[in-house]
């Protein structure tokens, strides 16, 4: 039986708040990891894992599941926190992030933890892995979709564009890529380090179906994901691959860090973590009161 989906935007927002709190707690405890992308992508992870994708935490290898790949593995705190929220493993394990003997490696390792669909870390490899899975699914007539979460920064890697061409050639229409367009990378803003625009036009030129969304607008994210999933499921897996360019705010919810590239690979101190948690919980109260 698949995971019971949450369809209420309000409930998804509240779940996202809880997941954000877990991310902060994990990062404060581990003192090592990536804050900005994890917090920025939380709304998308919540919508995808809790509201849209077919998967089963009790049976992670279920053949008919949708597979969710994370290409920019450094934002794995959000992956781990979401998997724990779905009950793939006990939430208490989150506090072992990056520690010796932990299942929660610094970057995700396939087979190391239930729910992880690919190994990533070195950037630009996830979309290629997604293509391989989608090809196999085509050969074996599997039904699931392949969601591939990527970053904007890794579009500076040549391999990403090799995969973009490949997916287009083989009409891997069951791939839905969601790009975290937060405009930051370690050394600065993407458009200063190595300009990426226009990403939309580039993908269109490569014959992908391109959509854009405010990646922190739960209602918009949910409805777009639902619409495109239904479309991809009915396409028979022989149409143009789909990309959603999700415009997100780095470090979303932790106000003093929002939008800044300086939080790409930095963790909050204990004091900063308390501030972040207060920010998130206050926002959560507002959502409850809506």
């Amino acid at each position: 039986m698949a995971f019971e989906k949450i369809k209420s935007v309000k409930e998804l927002k509240l779940a996202a708040s809880e997941i954000r709190c877990d991310i902060i707690r994990m990062l404060v405890e581990s003192k090592s990891g990536h804050t900005a992308g994890s917090l920025g992508m939380t709304d998308i992870f919540a919508a995808l894992y809790l509201g849209v994708a077919n998967h089963d935490p009790k049976n992670p290898d279920w053949d008919g599941r949708d597979k969710i790949l994370l290409s920019n593995g450094h934002i794995c705190p959000i992956l781990y926190a979401t998997l724990a929220y779905c009950d793939y493993f006990p939430r208490s394990e989150l506090m072992t992030l990056r520690k010796l003997g932990s299942h929660l490696q610094g970057h995700p390792h396939w087979g190391h933890l239930p729910g992880i669909e690919n190994t990533s870390g070195p950037l630009g490899q996830g979309l290629s892995q997604a293509c391989g899975l989608a090809l196999a699914d085509k050969l074996d007539s599997r039904e699931g979709l392949i969601f591939c979460l990527t970053s904007d920064g890794e579009h500076q890697e040549g391999q990403t564009w090799e995969a973009v061409m490949f997916a287009s050639k083989y009409k891997l229409g069951k791939i839905i890529q969601i790009m975290d367009r937060n405009n930051i990378q370690i050394d600065g803003n993407t458009e200063d380090i190595m300009p990426l625009e226009s990403l939309k036009k580039k993908y269109e030129a490569f014959n992908w179906e391109v959509h854009e969304v405010d990646g922190n607008d739960m209602s918009a994210v949910l409805s777009l994901l639902e619409k495109l999933s239904a479309k991809a499921r009915s396409s028979g897996g022989n149409s143009a691959p789909i990309i959603i360019i999700a415009n997100t705010l780095a470090s979303k919810g932790f106000y003093s860090a929002e939008g800044s590239y300086k939080w790409h690979g930095k963790t909050p101190s204990k004091e900063e973590g308390e501030i972040a948690l207060a920010d998130i919980l206050a926002a959560s109260e507002k959502i409850r009161a809506e």
């Binding site: 390792h109 396939w110 490899q125 290629s128 391989g132 050969l139 391999q159 090799e162 995969a163 490949f166």
Partner: protein, 329 residues
């Protein structure tokens, strides 16, 4: 002194005759891949715009729906292969060794080796015998960069028949396997009934005066050298060490104990390859063995005819013969 080869090896009786059939290792590998494709539908094959050159075209002709041409994109090919293998496929991919594993080492390391996936890939046109294309296309470092990866098996076939068996051996073995192939047509000196087991040295000739350990094209050169030495009453053992990893150190050790004079031959940089693998283990085992290394001496190659280059770079049977003589003296 008559040169008697190990009968258990069932080598081609015509191996020293001028008319001995010649074929490249890429041919043997490609032929077996096409056969395997008919036996198991889980097998898929990929290449990066070199299907004819690396002989995946024979699989492609028979099983077009299980063949994927990635275009000139070796990094993507390696990661796509990982995705296919994660979904249960047995994946064969091939390109020139300078590009794969030369260019996609990171993808092979992280996506394939770290996940211990069933990906069997070959690097064709490896070694100096790649010839006229010159240094850019002569992979002389691939054994080193593959054997250092955990979970990886590294096989260097000595002729087309063995390459055929290696393609099948890779299929039968769990996990990633790298098979190094060559472009040059070389004598097919083994036979269908020559034994082949990944990780097990073939003792082609027993000997007590000097031990020659070789892989790839160097194995035949080693046999020629041993034959010449036998005319002078020198008895050279010839070990075909087709598997660089896991290394059959037990066999090497037993020979090192019998005769602590070893010539290690490979069509690869002298550093980091087969001789590196053997010396590391011999030293660790505290064996006092005199070693001479036949290989490319920390330099790049150049254009030329393949066999001409073997001679020029000191990798031919004469070079092995001289190294043996020097060690015995």
């Amino acid at each position: 002194m008559e040169f008697k080869l190990n009968k258990k090896m069932n080598l081609n009786p015509a191996l020293f005759e001028p008319g001995c059939k010649k074929e490249s290792t890429r041919d043997g590998w490609g032929r077996e891949l096409a056969v395997l494709g008919g036996e198991d539908e889980k097998i898929v094959a990929l290449t990066a715009d070199l299907s004819g050159s690396v002989r995946t075209n024979w699989f492609e002709e028979k099983y077009p729906n299980r063949f994927f041409n990635c275009g000139v994109a070796e990094q993507n090919m390696a990661s796509v292969s990982a995705g296919l293998a994660m979904a249960g496929k047995i994946v064969y991919f091939s390109s020139f060794a300078v590009f794969s594993p030369g260019r996609n080492w990171d993808q092979i390391r992280v996506n394939i080796a770290y996940n211990n996936l069933n990906v069997k890939f070959s690097g064709a046109h490896a070694g100096i015998t790649t010839g006229p294309d010159g240094a850019t296309h002569q992979a002389l470092e691939d054994i080193a960069i593959m054997r250092v990866l955990p979970n990886m098996t590294v096989v260097v076939p000595c002729d087309a028949k063995q390459a055929q068996k290696a393609a099948r051996g890779a299929y039968e073995r769990d996990g990633p396997v790298y098979i190094r192939l060559g472009r040059e047509n070389i004598p097919v000196f083994t036979s269908d009934s020559t034994p082949f087991e990944i990780g097990k040295i073939n003792v082609l000739n027993d000997g007590k005066d000097v031990v020659i350990v070789a892989c790839g094209v160097e194995v035949y050169a080693a046999l020629l050298a041993a034959k010449k030495l036998s005319c002078e009453g020198i008895n050279a053992a010839v070990l075909d060490c087709h598997t660089v990893k896991p290394l059959d150190i037990e066999t090497i050790e037993s020979y090192a104990k019998k005769c602590p004079k070893m010539i290690i031959c490979e069509e690869h940089q002298i550093n980091g390859g087969l001789s590196g693998a053997i010396c590391e283990q011999l030293c660790e085992r505290g064996l006092n063995v005199k070693v001479a290394r036949i290989g490319v001496k920390d330099t790049f190659g150049e254009s030329g005819n393949g066999l001409e280059l073997l001679k020029e770079y000191g990798l031919d049977s004469e070079a092995i013969y001289r190294a043996c003589k020097k060690m015995i003296e």
